[in-house]
């Protein structure tokens, strides 16, 4: 991962497992096909990330 970043001159970001991603994605995309979808507040998005164990400065929505 560090080599991948170095080749692209990018800083290392954050890591999540595929299991965390699946846990998060179910909340993140819930309801988005519904005609009544009107977006989501940053606080609601934050709650979805935290429920999947995605905490810390990188994951702050505001």
């Amino acid at each position: 991962m560090d080599g991948w970043c170095a080749r692209r001159a990018l800083s290392r970001g954050a890591i999540m497992t595929l299991d965390q991603c699946w846990s998060m994605a179910q909340g993140w995309y819930a309801g988005r096909l519904e005609p009544g979808w009107r977006g989501r507040s940053p606080a609601a998005a934050q709650a979805i990330l935290e429920a999947a164990g995605l905490n810390g400065p990188f994951w702050r929505m505001v």
């Binding site: 991962m1 990018l10 890591i15 994605a25 988005r32």
Partner: protein, 154 residues
Amino acid sequence: MSGPKPVLDDFHWALRTEIYRHVAETTEAPSLEALAAWAGRTHTDVLEALDALEANHHIALLPDRTGIWMANPFSATPTAFPVDTPRGLFWANCAWDALGVPAILGVDGWTETRCAGSGEPISFGVRGGERQGDDGLIHLVVPPRHAWDDIGFT
């Protein structure tokens, strides 16, 4: 894009719903012409409405603004993240969205790709509603709050 985001009205939300319905049902994004015909409005009206949806981070237009590029988790153009589902083959924008496709559709979905770091094949997805396959890691370079600063890069 800077400045205040355009306020979305009922037409914008209906257009957004139609885009997502079309992608979910056909695996492909509707053309601007198809959206104009659906709405009974001009191509210019539709493009202006899509600009407003993009400014509010609901869809992304192709760089040349000739069509829809992304309606997350879906990509209108092929990517490194194909998602094979009972409803057809969808393209996801990234590894996150490769699991977003089964999440938004409520179906199983499977992705065969290669690890961006090692180049090794990786196979993962959702079967029977459960996450299965390889236990890879997703490395995010851009914090989610900045994802739309440059959605193509993200």
